[in-house]
Subunit: 437 residues, 2 copies
C-alpha cells in the first residue's frame, strides 16, 4: 500500500474502513496459503533480510520514530509512555537479534508426530500446521511489529498488525523493512500487513472478520483486552492479569523461601509474573514472617497484611504494615506493594490461589514431595512451580526461544506462547487403499 492509500483509508468513513479491512483480510487469507507451504530456507532468508533492512535503514527508522515521539510529547504523554514508544539503540539491537534468533529456531511446520498403525491397516498421525491468519493488536511499543511478525512468519502464518496510532510512523517504516525482507526471499508482500489507518473502526472490523482471521493476539493493558473481549468474534489468545502467589509451606527451606520470595517480588515490580500475594503456612509463620517482613520492609515494599500476619509482624517489632482489604487479594499491583496472608494448610493455600489468583503463575516453597506434587496438580494456573521464582514464567526461560505473549486461557495454549502456540495439529492418514468396513 502506498502513502496515498493510507491517506484515503485514514480519511475515510467507517464504511470505507470496512471495505479496506475486508481487502486486507482477503489478501492475508491468500498470503496464508503461500506462507503455509513456504520452505524453511525461504522463511529464514526473509527473517535475516528484514534484520539487514533494519540495520541499513536505521537512520530513516530513527527519524520516523522521532516524529512519533515528538508528537506524543506534544500530546502530553507521560514519560513511561514515551519510553515504551522510543526505539532506542538498545531496542533496535534487540529487534535485530530477535529476528536472527527466530531464524535459528527449528521450523515447527510440517512436523509429523505419533504416526501409528491401526488394526485396519491405515497409519494415523498428527502434522503441525500454521493457524492461518493471525491478527496482532498492540499499543505503543513499535518493537512488537518486528517481534510478532517474526514469530508469525516462522510459524507459517500470515499476519495483520494493528499497532497504536501513536507509533504509526515507526510502524510504517518497520513495515517497509518487513516488505523488503519478504520480497528478497520471494515471499508475497501480504504475508505481513500493517494496518495503515489509525481509525479505531479498523480494530472493530479486524476482531470480527471470522472468514479472514483465525486468531487475535492482543498485547496491551487491561482496558484494551477488556474492550476486545466484549466485541471479538475471532478467537483470542489473551493475556490478562498476573496475580501470582508464592506459598511458603510448613516444610519450606527458609533460605529458599527468602531467596524466592525476594526474587519473585523485587526482581522487577512491573511484570506480569511478579508475586503479588505471599501466603505463609500457619506452622512456619512465627519463624518465617519476621524474616520475610524485614526483607521486604528493607527493600521499601509496602506490606498489606491479614490479622494473623499483623500479630506476628508486630511481635517481631515490624509495625509499618497496612491492613489488607478484601480487594487486595485480587489486585495486580505492578508496584512495590505485597499482600501477605497466613493460611492454615496446603489446602487453604490452594483454595486461596484458585479463588483469588488469575491462573497465571504460582509457586510453592517446600521440601515435602507429596505437598509439592499436590500443589503442581491442584493449582489451576498456566505455570505452577516448586521451589523456583515466579519470574521464570517466560518463553525464553522455558526454552521456547521466544514468546508472542503469555496466555491466561485454558483452550489451545496456556502460559508462554511460542512458535508451537501459533500452530495446531491436523490428522494425517497414510493408507494403501483401505476402506471402512
Amino acid at each position: 500500500m502506498g502513502a496515498n492509500d493510507q491517506v484515503t483509508a485514514q480519511a475515510s468513513a467507517v464504511g470505507d474502513i470496512d471495505e479496506y479491512m475486508e481487502r486486507v483480510g482477503q489478501r492475508a487469507r491468500a498470503a496464508s496459503r503461500a506462507i503455509a507451504k513456504a520452505s524453511t530456507a525461504a522463511k529464514n532468508a526473509a527473517l535475516k533480510a528484514i534484520a539487514d533492512a533494519i540495520e541499513r535503514d536505521v537512520d530513516a527508522l530513527r527519524a520516523a520514530n522521532a516524529r512519533d515521539v515528538e508528537r506524543a510529547k506534544r500530546n502530553g504523554q507521560d514519560p513511561a509512555f514515551i519510553d515504551r514508544l522510543t526505539l532506542s539503540d538498545k531496542a533496535l539491537k534487540t529487534m535485530i537479534e530477535g529476528l536472527n534468533q527466530v531464524a535459528a529456531l527449528p521450523d515447527p511446520v510440517g512436523e509429523i508426530g505419533n504416526l501409528k498403525f491401526r488394526p485396519t491397516g491405515i497409519q494415523v498421525g498428527q502434522m503441525r500446521v500454521p493457524l492461518g491468519v493471525i491478527g496482532i493488536i498492540y499499543e505503543s511499543r513499535p518493537n512488537v511489529t518486528i517481534d510478532a511478525a517474526a514469530l508469525c512468519l516462522k510459524s507459517g502464518n500470515a499476519t495483520i498488525l494493528r499497532g497504536g496510532s501513536e507509533a504509526i510512523e515507526s510502524n510504517t517504516a518497520l513495515a517497509r523493512a518487513i516488505g523488503e525482507g519478504l520480497a528478497s526471499a520471494g515471499l508475497p508482500a501480504d504475508v505481513v500487513q500493517v494496518v495503515e489507518t489509525t481509525d479505531r473502526a479498523a480494530v472493530g472490523k479486524l476482531i470480527t472478520m471470522t472468514d479472514y482471521v483465525d486468531v487475535i493476539v492482543p498485547r496491551g493493558g487491561k482496558s484494551l483486552i477488556a474492550r476486545l473481549i466484549a466485541d471479538a468474534r475471532v478467537p483470542m489468545i489473551k493475556h490478562l492479569d498476573g496475580i501470582c502467589h508464592v506459598y511458603v509451606d510448613d516444610c519450606a527451606d527458609m533460605d529458599k523461601a527468602l531467596r524466592i520470595a525476594e526474587n519473585a517480588k523485587t526482581h522487577r515490580y512491573g511484570t506480569c509474573n511478579t508475586m503479588e500475594t505471599l501466603l505463609v503456612a500457619e506452622g512456619i509463620a512465627p519463624r518465617a514472617l519476621p524474616m520475610l517482613g524485614k526483607l521486604f520492609h528493607d527493600k521499601g515494599v509496602e506490606l498489606r497484611v491479614d490479622a494473623a500476619s499483623k500479630a506476628i509482624l508486630h511481635a517481631s517489632g515490624l509495625d509499618d504494615v497496612k491492613d489488607a482489604q478484601p480487594e487486595d487479594w485480587s489486585t495486580e499491583y505492578l508496584a512495590p506493594i505485597l499482600a501477605v496472608k497466613v493460611v492454615a494448610s496446603l489446602d487453604a493455600a490452594i483454595d486461596h490461589i484458585n479463588e483469588y489468583g488469575s491462573a497465571h503463575t504460582d509457586a510453592i516453597v517446600t521440601e515435602d514431595h507429596d505437598r509439592a506434587m499436590r500443589f503442581l496438580r491442584e493449582v489451576d494456573s498456566a505455570s505452577v512451580m516448586v521451589n523456583a521464582s515466579t519470574r521464570f514464567a517466560d518463553g525464553f526461560e522455558f526454552g521456547l526461544g521466544a514468546e508472542i505473549g503469555i496466555s491466561n486461557d485454558k483452550l489451545h495454549a496456556r502460559g508462554p506462547v511460542g512458535l508451537e502456540g501459533l500452530t495446531s495439529l491436523k490428522y494425517v492418514v497414510l493408507g494403501h487403499g483401505e476402506v471402512r468396513q
Copy 2:
C-alpha cells in the same frame, strides 16, 4: 435437584432461569475442583457404577423414553427424529459398553511430558489437566447424555448437559443413573448436572457464563450451531459441515480409486465424513470417469458434473447426469448425490478443496510420493488422507478410544476430539531454590 425444583425452573420467567443457571454454574465450578483431583480409580468406579445403574433400572429408563417418544409422535415428528430419540435395546447396550470402554482408557490427567532441564537449573515440563467445566448442548439423541458425561468425567471435567426438550424424561432418568454412579464412587453429584428445564433461555445463559463454563461442545444440526455461534461468549469446540473430497490423481491406482471413492460416498450417505465432491485429474479422467460414473450410477447416486466430466461421461454412454451449479461445490448433501469435477492438476485440486471444502476431511488417491506429501501438507483440513477412505475420520478409527465430536476449528483441537481434546497442558517447573538473574 428434586422434581419440585424442576417444575419451578420450567415454569419460571427468564429472570429465574438466569438465577437457576447461575447456581448450576457455581456448582459445576466447585465440582470441577473435586473431579480434577479425583483418582483414576474413583473415576473408573463411577463409570462402571453408572453402567450398572443403567442395566439395573433399564425398565424405568425404557418407560421414561417411551413417554418422550409418545409425545414426539403426538407432536408429529418425522420417523428419522423418532429414530434418534428412541433408546432401543441396541442403543442401551452400546451406552453400557461405551461406559466400560471409557473406564478402560488410560487417564490423561496428570501426565507430565517433555520435562527438560534449562541452563538456569530449573526443570520445565507440561502437565495434562482438565479444562474445567464443559457445557454440552445437544438435540434429540439421549445417548449423548451418557457418552458426553463419560468422556468429561474421565478427563476430570465437570459437565453441564443441556439436551433437547423432546428427550427431557429420558435425560432425567439417565441423570439419575449418573448421580448414583458418582455417589457410589464418593464423587460429588454436581460433577455431572443435567439442566432440568426445557426453557430456551437456559441455553442462552449457558453459552455466556464465562465465569463458570470453560468450553461448550455443541452436538447437533447446522441451525443449532449457527444460532450458538452468534451468541456464545464461552469458547466452543464446534462441528460444522463435512464437505469432504476425494481427489483421483493422474498417478492413481485405479483399483484403489474405485474402492475408496465407492466407500467414501456409499458406505453411509448421512455422515459428516462422507465424500460430497469427487475431483478427477485431467490426465486420468478419460480412463477413470467412465468407471467411476458407472459405479455410482449403478448404486443410484445422482451425479452433478462439470462440463468436462459431462463430455467424458456422455462419450462413455452415461447420459443420466445433471449439470453442476456453483452452489454444488459447497453443498453437504448427506444424500446419494455427488458433485464431480475435472481439475487440471494437483494444484487445482488443492485450491478447489481449500476454497470450497469445509476443512473437515479430504483424501488423495495417488501412487506418487511427492504429490501425496504435498496434498497432506497443503490441504488445510482437520483430517487429510492418502489412499484411504474419508470415512476413517472418526475417533474410534483414529485410536482415540471415543470421541465427543469432530472439530472444524483450528484452535485447540482439530478433527475427532477424544479425551485429550477435553484437557489442556499447563507448565510445571521443578526447582531447587533457583531465582531469575
